[in-house]
Structures are given as structure tokens and as C-alpha cells.
């Protein structure tokens, strides 16, 4: 027994002495120039054309590189990436990128314009089903190709087709989902009655019909309600084209769709855009626009095949400053400096580690105990503590995002824009920021957060007196006449407390009663998508630094509108902006559109986001950036 005790205590002593001499993980990593980053969750994937999230961006940005790279200090500038230089035509509808000749993949193979073209084709391939394909819709014909708009591609783009697309487009190619279809229609097209067949065709549209239905139309063209202007022979020709396409096995239409990507030579990529796009260099910094290694991807599957294993550590080939070395699921991702990177000498770090730490409190504890160089986030209740104990580490920086409350304008109580304005005016944004969020957020006086060159709107103001007058004008002089409305919110802590603040402010300033319904995340999304709410807390993070990333949301056709609101005036202004000659004029028109939106108030802007996180003082070359998309190649670690 005594012998056991002595050996145990000897072991304990040995452990203690061993551990005392050991330096903290961060000291060691800093010396080795390995940056350790908290990254909130396991990435959904590491394929630039598959993922949709911010945490994936943090990793992919280290592994891949597009035409341009984020400037480490400035949001409005771009540094050269794979492209050495780039230029646009006068109205920014055509951009040319000149690739550097020494650009290589991490396996040493040369990176050419074909890798870019391949990447763009891949993400747009209708069968690939990329969730973020819409980011490429800026390219001419990209949307049409991705949505497999057969009529447009097969007939509209064919110069030899007897009727022009301008007339053809009146044909119901895309289908009208408002026309209901007999639910028993699954039994087969042929078994339907003639009226049901007509409905079926109108519901689905010519583009989405199968051979059986097309053949039926060929026999009796009156199944389709053709526009008057289309002559009978053209009608048959259209159907014939569609039929030929299907009988040929529905081949892919990339070559016929004339998507706006051209590669005149190995080192030049030319983009033809659907509308004026002065911010294209910013877009090329988004992973959806990154090149992917054609040779590797095709070695693991077809171009339009998702879920292949080409991104596993043993297979992946990338072109960024770092390359993937280890990927332990839900545990860590390790990268090291890529020896084939064109700007190898400029890269200061030897590697980056990403840890999927879902619990922000755990993450903060790990940072406090010297296990991380950087956290992904910082919960509001830990901001004060961090400010006090780790003043050199606390970062609070503006972020390209806005928090708002959607109004369901189809609800009687919220139909009147004066009511919505009154609701907005009785939100004390400053109080919410100071007492609840505590993260240095900015009161959202408009929807679009401050962006360089864009005249930020200064419309939404706390003004309870005016709010009460508006309610009176809307017929609710007595608050009791106003029906009880409900705020839908997620089960996240901040949104819940935010809703309680709104509830309290509206009771206090307007005297109206508001209830709160908290729903789990997917249930919440489901209800928002189905317009099954009165008011709902939400937010939006910009994909690129341009007002359209926030303003396009409220178009009638946008899948994220979810308010029931739309305005012809608003969409006309956005359209005008998309064809305006100068960037200045464009911004002016966009601001006018935003003014319309804020007058109508289908969304009540609350605050502009900031990122709150902890950054170790040994990290150098890290400056505030609106999109928080820091270029790792400029980052360094120095022992103090």
C-alpha cells in the first residue's frame, strides 16, 4: 500500500513538473507561426461551389483564391489574386481579368482561365443543384441556364429562329403556379381530361413538360393558350425544338446558353454581365466565384456531381496561400503554407488551425486560457468582462449586416403603412443597443449599412410623439382598437430579448398589446416562408459590399422577401439603377429605391451589425473589415 502511494505521488509530481515547464498552446503556436481560430461549427463542406455559409468562407478563403483578394485594410479596394489586372468597359457590363502566368494549383499544375470557366459552368449546371448558384446570376444568361429555361435557350437565343424572343417570351414557358392542378394527375398525363391537361401545361410551363405532354401538344396545339402574336407554324416549331431536345436525351445546354464567360486564351477571362456591375471585383472575392481544379474534380466524378470526395485531405488541390493537411470531423482542420502559391514569400503564417467550437462560452474560456488566437464571436454578457480583463483583445467592428423586423403586410393590422411607420418610430434603437446588445452596434437609420460612396439613408428615427399621431391618423386613436399582434422569434437568446424590448416599447409608447411566440429555428423559418406571422425578427448579412445585396430582397420575385409587400415604383428604380451609366448615378437611384422602401416600411430596421470577438495581441496585420473576410496572407504572429 505504501509503495503504491509513493509511486502515485511520484507520478503526480512528475506530471506537475512536466506540465509546469510546458508553455501554453498559444505561446507555442505563436512561435511556430500557426494561427488557431475558433470557427463556430463543422463546415458543411469545403467545396467552394457547394457551401453557403460564413464559417465555410473562413476556411475556404485560406485554401482558395479568386481573381481578386480582399485588401487587408480597405473595404473598397481589392488586391490582385489570380488576376494580375482587370478592367471594365464604360458601362461596367463587360469585365476582363488578366491572369498571372505563374498561378499554380497546390499540386504544381498550372492554373488557367479554363479552371475559372469550369468552376462557373459547374456551379451553374442545372443538375449540380448548387445552393448558391444565384451569386453567379450577374452573368449574362446564367440564370436562364441554371433554371434550365429551354424555350429561351433553344429558341430565343437562336438567331435563325423565325420569331424573336421578344415575342416568344409571351409564351407560357415557365409555368404559372397559381393555376391549380388536379392532385390525381400523378397517374399520367394521358389519363387526364382535356381541361386538366390544359391546367397541367399552364401550371408547369412548356420548359418543364415531358415528352408525353409535348407530343400531345404537337397533336392538338390548342392545349396551350398561345399568345395571339405567335403564328401557328412557330408554335409547332417551338414544340418541335423542345421535343428534339428531350428525345436527344436532354443534353446539357452550356454551349448553347451563351453564358457570359469567355476565355479567349489561357490567361484571360472575359465576363459579359446581365446588367451594369461596377462591383464585380468584390464579387470575385466570394467563394462562389473561385476557380476549382478541373483535373482533380473530374478525377473524382462528373462536372455536375455533388458529394464526391475531392475535398478530402488526401485528394484536395487548391490555389490559395494555404493547403489542407488534416481534417478531423468535428474536431479540427489544419492547413499549412502552400509551396506552390504564387505569392509564397508574402505569406507570413506557417499554417492555420480551425476549431469548430459551437459553444461561445466554451470558446471564450478557451481564449482566456490561451488556447485560441481568435474567437468566432463573443456573447453579449461577456463583453464587459472582456473589456475589463482583456482590453487588448476585445474587438468590436462594424459588419455588413442589418437586423430588422419583417411586417406581414397581408395582415389587416399591418396593412396601413402609417401603422408600420409608427411601429418603427417607437423603437428606441439606442436603448436596445446600449442595454441589451452592448456590442457597439449602430442604430439603423436606413436599411443598407454605411458603405463607401453610398448615401446612407437617415430616415428611421425614434419619435414616439409622431408615432402616436400616425396611429391616430390610421384610425387607432384608442390603442384598445388596435388588435393584439404577435412577434415571431427564434429560440435564440438575443432575438427573444429583442422581442421583449419591442413589446415593452410598443406598450409604453403606443399602448398596444403585443405577444411573443418563440419557435425553434426551422419551425420559425418555415412559418416565415409561409407568411404565417404578424411581425418577425430577422436579419440579413450582405454577400458583397453593395446596396443591392440588401435591396434586391424586397423585390416581389425574391424568395427572401417574405413580407407580402411589393412595389412597382421600387422595382422600377432598381431596374433603372441596373442600367445606369455611372456608378454615382447608380447609387443615387438605389438610394431613391431605398427611400421608397423606408417610406412603405415593410421592414423595420433595428440596428446595423457589429462583430464582437476576441483577438490575441500577438496577431498582426489584422484590421477591421466590413465583411470580416480577412485575407490570411497578410496576417502575421509576433511574440510580444
Amino acid at each position: 500500500m505504501i509503495r503504491l502511494l509513493t509511486s502515485l505521488s511520484a507520478l503526480a509530481l512528475a506530471l506537475l513538473s512536466f506540465s509546469c515547464s510546458e508553455e501554453t498552446p498559444i505561446v507555442k503556436a505563436t512561435e511556430e507561426k500557426i494561427m488557431i481560430i475558433g470557427n463556430s461549427n463543422e463546415p458543411a463542406a469545403l467545396d467552394p461551389q457547394v457551401v453557403t455559409g460564413v464559417l465555410e468562407n473562413n476556411i475556404i478563403r485560406a485554401l482558395f483564391e479568386g481573381h481578386c483578394v480582399e485588401d487587408p485594410k480597405s473595404d473598397s479596394d481589392s488586391q490582385p489574386g489570380v488576376a494580375e489586372s482587370w478592367e471594365a468597359n464604360e458601362d461596367y457590363t463587360r469585365w476582363t481579368f488578366h491572369l498571372r502566368k505563374d498561378a499554380k494549383w497546390s499540386d504544381g499544375k498550372a492554373l488557367t482561365s479554363e479552371d475559372f470557366r469550369f468552376a462557373h459552368e459547374r456551379i451553374l449546371r442545372p443538375n449540380f443543384g448548387a445552393k448558391y448558384a444565384t451569386m453567379l446570376y450577374f452573368l449574362k444568361n446564367a440564370k436562364e441556364y441554371n433554371e434550365n429555361q429551354l424555350g429561351y435557350i433553344l429558341c430565343g437565343l437562336d438567331e435563325n429562329f423565325p420569331t424573336s424572343w421578344n415575342e416568344l417570351k409571351q409564351i407560357n414557358f415557365r409555368g404559372d403556379k397559381n393555376i391549380s392542378v388536379d392532385s390525381s394527375a400523378n397517374t399520367g398525363f394521358a389519363s387526364l381530361s382535356q381541361a386538366d391537361q390544359q391546367n397541367w401545361i399552364a401550371h408547369h410551363g412548356l420548359d418543364n413538360l415531358k415528352v408525353e405532354a409535348l407530343q400531345a401538344i404537337q397533336k392538338s396545339p390548342e392545349l396551350v393558350s398561345w399568345p395571339e402574336a405567335i403564328p401557328a407554324e412557330t408554335r409547332l416549331l417551338v414544340i418541335q425544338r423542345l421535343l428534339d431536345h428531350h428525345t436527344a436525351g436532354s443534353p446539357d445546354l452550356w454551349n448553347r446558353a451563351q453564358v457570359g464567360v469567355q476565355t479567349p486564351d489561357e490567361h484571360t477571362v472575359v465576363y459579359q454581365l446581365a446588367s451594369t456591375t461596377p462591383f464585380l471585383p468584390h464579387l470575385t472575392k466570394h467563394y462562389t466565384w473561385f476557380p476549382v481544379p478541373k483535373h482533380t474534380i473530374l478525377a473524382h466524378g462528373e462536372i455536375d456531381q455533388q458529394h464526391t470526395r475531392w475535398t478530402s485531405p488526401s485528394s484536395i488541390v487548391s490555389n490559395g496561400p494555404f493547403k489542407l493537411t488534416e481534417w478531423e470531423f468535428n474536431h479540427y482542420i489544419k492547413t499549412e503554407k502552400n509551396p506552390h502559391y504564387w505569392d509564397f514569400d508574402a505569406v507570413k503564417l506557417n499554417g492555420i488551425e480551425f476549431h469548430p467550437i459551437t459553444n461561445p462560452y466554451t470558446e471564450a474560456r478557451m481564449f482566456y486560457n490561451d488556447q485560441l488566437h481568435m474567437t468566432y464571436t463573443l456573447p453579449p454578457e461577456m463583453i464587459e468582462y472582456s473589456r475589463e480583463k482583456y482590453p487588448d483583445s476585445l474587438r468590436q467592428e462594424p459588419y455588413l449586416g442589418v437586423n430588422f423586423m419583417r411586417c406581414n403586410v397581408t395582415r389587416n393590422a399591418l396593412k396601413d403603412k402609417r401603422v408600420r411607420q409608427a411601429l418603427a418610430m417607437s423603437i428606441d434603437q439606442q436603448a436596445i443597443i446600449e442595454h441589451l446588445l452592448k456590442g457597439g452596434q449602430l442604430p439603423a437609420t436606413g436599411l443598407t449599412p454605411p458603405l463607401s460612396g453610398y448615401p446612407t439613408l437617415d430616415v428611421v428615427k425614434f419619435n414616439p410623439d409622431k408615432a402616436r399621431k400616425l396611429m391616430t391618423a390610421a384610425g387607432f386613436e384608442n390603442p384598445r382598437d388596435f388588435p393584439t399582434i404577435n412577434i415571431l422569434t427564434t429560440d435564440r437568446d438575443t432575438s427573444k430579448r429583442l422581442s421583449e424590448a419591442f413589446q415593452d416599447m410598443w406598450k409604453k409608447h403606443l399602448g398596444i398589446d403585443v405577444t411573443i411566440a418563440q419557435r425553434e429555428w426551422k419551425t420559425y423559418l418555415d412559418r416565415v416562408n409561409r407568411l404565417d406571422y404578424d411581425l418577425v425578427v430577422g436579419g440579413w448579412i450582405g454577400d458583397y459590399p453593395d446596396p443591392t445585396t440588401f435591396l434586391d430582397l424586397w423585390k416581389k420575385s425574391n424568395g427572401n422577401n417574405n413580407t407580402g409587400w411589393s412595389s412597382k415604383e421600387y422595382e422600377e428604380l432598381l431596374k433603372q439603377a441596373s442600367i445606369s451609366e455611372t456608378p454615382e448615378k447608380r447609387f443615387q437611384l438605389l438610394a431613391e429605391a431605398e427611400a421608397v422602401l423606408l417610406e412603405e416600411m415593410p421592414v423595420l430596421p433595428t440596428y446595423w451589425y457589429t462583430t464582437n470577438y476576441l483577438l490575441h495581441p500577438s496577431v498582426k496585420g489584422w484590421h477591421p473589415l466590413l465583411q470580416n473576410s480577412h485575407p490570411y496572407k497578410f496576417v502575421d504572429l509576433e511574440t510580444n
Partner: protein
């Protein structure tokens, strides 16, 4: 005995089958689906992605697909992380197994002696003290104990980390957090079992025959007194090795428990079904093991079986 095991196994397979079937339909009844996203996806993209997971097909067809794949050892692809469920379980389960075994060892090492001592010194200070601590252990949840251990112990002991999963040192605090509740239950159950046995005639006989106390306890009392504890340990062990969302997120451990929660919240049907399936299998095996152990301890159970 062999027959009993076989029939138990048969029952187990039936239980697991029902479990998967119920889970299969329940997860699909939740609002939203794997493709409900904060950024709404265009309908044609949703269609393409649903088709990949067969979600575009009628429920009975999906159900058949699932069992067809299951028969081939394929649990499908995760719908939120781009990899097969089998691979996810393959990387997470060993971690949870290590954590589960170490916390079970802690629970056994603490719980059983505490229960035995409390029973022997019934109504003494030791009894009250250990049972009060056990009550606390049951009542204080892991999300309180975990951060406290991290903040006050790991921060001050240099070889312990507040979170992370590297070497065996990193197993200590999570195992304590996870094992504590089990230890507390075990202590109370052991105490109850021991008290019942200690009042039995054969113990009195042994005492009257003049056997030394330690022999009475080890030879006679423990054998019967541990029966309730053993019955508890089986399912408890199954629960421990299938992971714990709370302990895993507090200590940043790549274990299995988080997939139960994340699978449900992200509507990742395949991963949820996968982990529920695994949990079902573990429960069945653990219960079976407990039954066998009980039969060995208790001749009456052997006979009735």
C-alpha cells in the same frame, strides 16, 4: 440460458426496428425540412437537392429506400454535413466510448463504495453526508458542474485544459462531469440494495457464526446488495457511451451526443436516424449484458429465466 439470450436478442431487433420506424416518420413530421434555409433557395435548386436524398418521393418509398440501404450497412449521407452518416458515427463514437468508459469508471469507483459505506453506517454522519452529496450530484446539472470545473480547476491546474480533446488528461474533467450524476444515482441505489440485504436472515446467520465483517460484506452482502445497481448500470452505461450534448459542447469534444440535437434542429433526417439506430442497438446490448450479469449474481433470476 442460451435460449433466453436468443429470445432477448430477437426482442431487441424488434425494438430497434420499431425505434427506427417511429423515428423515420416523426422526424419527417417536424415543420420545415433539411433544405429550409435562412436564405431561401430557388425552387429548382430545392428540387434537385431533394431528389438526391430521395426526399421528392412518397414517404413509403423513402421508407423502403432507407431499409434497403440499411441492410447494406449504409445509413445514408448526412444532409447538413457533406459526408456519409456511417463515417460521422465512425469518427464520433470512439470518442464517446472513451468518455463513457472513463465516466463509468469514475461513477463505479465513487458511487458503489459511497453507497456501501453509507449503508453500513446507516443514519450516521457519513451516511447523511454522502447521501446529501449524492442528492446534490443528481440535482446539479452538467451545464453547471462543467463550466465550474473548467473555470476553477482547469484554469489553475496547468496540465488540464478548459476545453479540447487531445490526450488522456483532457478526458478527466468531462468524465467527472458526466460521471457525477451516475455516481450519485449509483450511491443511492447501492445503499438501498445493501440495506435490504443487510436485514436478511442469512446475514444475521453469518454474523452469528462469527464471520469477520469484511467477509460478510464481500462474500455475502455485496452479492445481493449490488443487484439493483447492476440493473441500473446497463442502461446508464449505454447512455454514457452514446454521448452527451452538454458535456461535449462545454468541453469541445467531437463526440456522438451533439448529433442527436443537431440532427433534430437542422432536420438532418439521416444523421438523426443513424444515431438513434446506434443508440437503440447499444441499449439492447447493454440491457442484455445487465441481464446476464444479474443472472450470474442472482440464482433466482437464473431459474426464472
Amino acid at each position: 440460458m442460451f435460449k433466453t439470450i436468443l429470445s432477448r436478442l430477437g426482442q431487441g431487433i424488434l425494438v430497434v426496428f420499431c425505434l427506427i420506424s417511429i423515428t423515420f416518420f416523426l422526424v419527417r413530421m417536424m415543420p420545415g425540412d433539411p433544405l429550409t434555409d435562412e436564405k431561401a433557395l430557388p425552387p429548382h435548386i430545392i428540387e434537385k437537392n431533394k431528389a438526391y436524398y430521395h426526399l421528392d418521393k412518397p414517404l413509403p418509398v423513402q421508407y423502403l429506400y432507407y431499409f434497403k440501404n440499411l441492410a447494406q450497412g449504409d445509413l445514408g449521407d448526412s444532409m447538413s454535413k457533406d459526408r456519409p452518416v456511417v463515417e460521422i458515427i465512425g469518427s464520433s463514437f470512439p470518442v464517446s466510448l472513451i468518455l463513457g468508459i472513463s465516466s463509468m469508471l469514475i461513477a463505479l469507483a465513487v458511487g458503489i463504495p459511497a453507497g456501501v459505506i453509507a449503508a453500513l453506517r446507516k443514519n450516521s454522519f457519513i451516511d447523511y453526508a454522502s447521501m446529501s452529496i449524492a442528492m446534490l450530484g443528481i440535482c446539479i446539472p452538467a451545464f453547471v458542474v462543467g463550466p465550474l470545473l473548467a473555470m476553477y480547476i482547469a484554469s489553475n491546474v496547468s496540465f488540464l485544459k478548459v476545453a479540447g480533446w487531445g490526450g488522456p488528461f483532457d478526458w478527466i474533467l468531462p468524465a467527472i462531469t458526466l460521471g457525477l450524476t451516475t455516481a450519485a444515482y449509483l450511491a443511492r441505489i447501492t445503499r438501498g440494495g445493501m440495506l435490504e440485504v443487510l436485514n436478511q436472515d442469512y446475514i444475521r446467520t453469518a454474523k452469528a457464526k462469527g464471520l469477520p465483517t469484511h467477509r460478510i460484506i464481500t462474500r455475502h452482502a455485496l452479492r445481493g446488495g449490488l443487484i439493483p445497481a447492476v440493473a441500473y448500470v446497463g442502461p446508464a452505461f449505454a447512455a454514457l457511451i452514446s454521448g452527451s450534448f452538454i458535456v461535449e459542447t462545454i468541453f469541445q469534444i467531437p463526440g456522438l451526443g451533439q448529433h442527436f440535437i443537431n440532427g433534430a434542429t437542422s432536420r438532418d433526417y439521416n444523421i438523426l436516424q443513424g444515431v438513434v439506430f446506434l443508440y437503440g442497438v447499444i441499449i439492447v446490448i447493454a440491457n442484455l449484458a445487465a441481464d446476464i450479469a444479474l443472472a450470474m449474481l442472482n440464482p433466482r433470476a437464473r431459474e426464472s429465466a
